[in-house]
Symmetry: C2
Subunit: 204 residues, 2 copies
DNA sequence: CCTACCGATCGGTAGG
DNA sequence: CCTACCGATCGGTAGG
């Protein structure tokens, strides 16, 4: 399970180091999110980085390297933010609230990475695509754990789908510069999910 | 507001007529859904239709014509299926149930068109993109009407986001050949949304 | 709908 | 990271 195919010029620790490679990954994530993987050219990416397209290949081996690395790191963020909650001894409904907060916060922090993780990953092929699918399955399994403690078993499947839908769709509408904080969004969703929205019945 | 830029060779009534153009739209929808608009070539489309790429242009003026026409027709389906419910005098929660059924049924009938409508539309540019955005806004406004009758005003905004998330995310996981009927999915979601999923509390 | 193409652009490389 | 490319493929067209 090769961790990455990026050129081993230097062993950079993480996304936040802001070396040249990290900068290129950030630029690529924005463009892939905006125009899609196939709608983005290596010249677009190089141009935004202030270099010529050929020079990109001093840092990467292929365009797909960039997509893979963005997706893999985003998956790590989503997964580890949920795993961090497992150790805390909270009641199930509180764990649901914290999990939704964690998810929306990851989306809010880097919407472009979230979008690439949740959609553009389909442009990956072969082994890398299969690996990303496993990461996605793992993330969904973590949600299954959380929901299994909240909802009776026969409903847990639909509950998981419902919660994941709400969580995953956020990247299509949430704007970090908008009026809603990630926490506010997550808490409203949690309240509506736990209590239900049927509070006006009989009036129609 | 030009309705279409397709060549006016013949005035075909609708999608179900299965003339040559409709067949090409169906093929294009499947490929766009599968590989994305930019990931699909006109040679892919022509190949699946059993002709050469140049021959496509006897039916269309550009590749974008195909995308636009698929998206426009899909939008019509989603919108009219919700508008059809407005005339019926149902209680609000029942209208929510019927609306979710209608949405999931449209997704289930043609998942590839739903996917193109809900995602690949972003590949459209200029006027066509703006027009599709208006169609999407209109669809969301119809949901706003429905939710406004179910939920108290301050929560209606989040309720609409929650329901639309559940509805719109279905195309990513729903499989027509799977064990779940559209109605079953919609009804489970409706029950969970109306009643809430917090039924195990205190056990964790 | 085919034959036969076109200019533009694509991802990527060699050699500095 | 640049100069200078490469072969392949792209969306699309002219003329039948």
């Amino acid at each position: 399970m090769a961790r990455t195919d990026l050129k081993p010029i230097s062993k950079r620790p993480g996304y936040q180091a802001y070396g040249r490679l990290d900068q290129m990954l950030q630029i690529a994530a924005e463009l892939f999110s905006d125009r899609g993987y196939h709608g983005t050219t290596v010249r677009d990416i190089a141009g935004k980085a202030g270099i010529l397209s050929g020079s990109l290949y001093a840092h990467i081996r292929s365009k797909e390297d960039l997509l893979y690395e963005i997706v893999r790191r985003a998956a790590d963020q989503f997964i580890s933010s949920l795993e961090a909650l497992r150790t805390r001894p909270n009641p199930p409904s509180e764990r649901l609230r914290l999990a939704l907060r964690a998810h929306v916060e990851v989306v809010a922090e880097h919407p472009e990475r979230a979008r690439v993780f949740l959609h553009e990953w389909t442009a990956l092929r072969g082994k890398r695509r299969a690996e990303v699918r496993r990461l996605r399955d793992r993330y969904e399994a973590l949600w299954g754990e959380i929901l299994g403690d909240v909802v009776p078993t026969p409903d847990a499947k639909y509950a998981r789908l419902l919660v994941l839908s709400a969580a995953n769709w956020t990247y299509t509408w949430y704007r970090p510069d908008g009026p809603l904080s990630p926490e506010e969004v997550a808490d409203r969703f949690t309240d509506l999910l736990l209590d239900g929205l049927g509070t006006k019945e009989g009036s129609g």
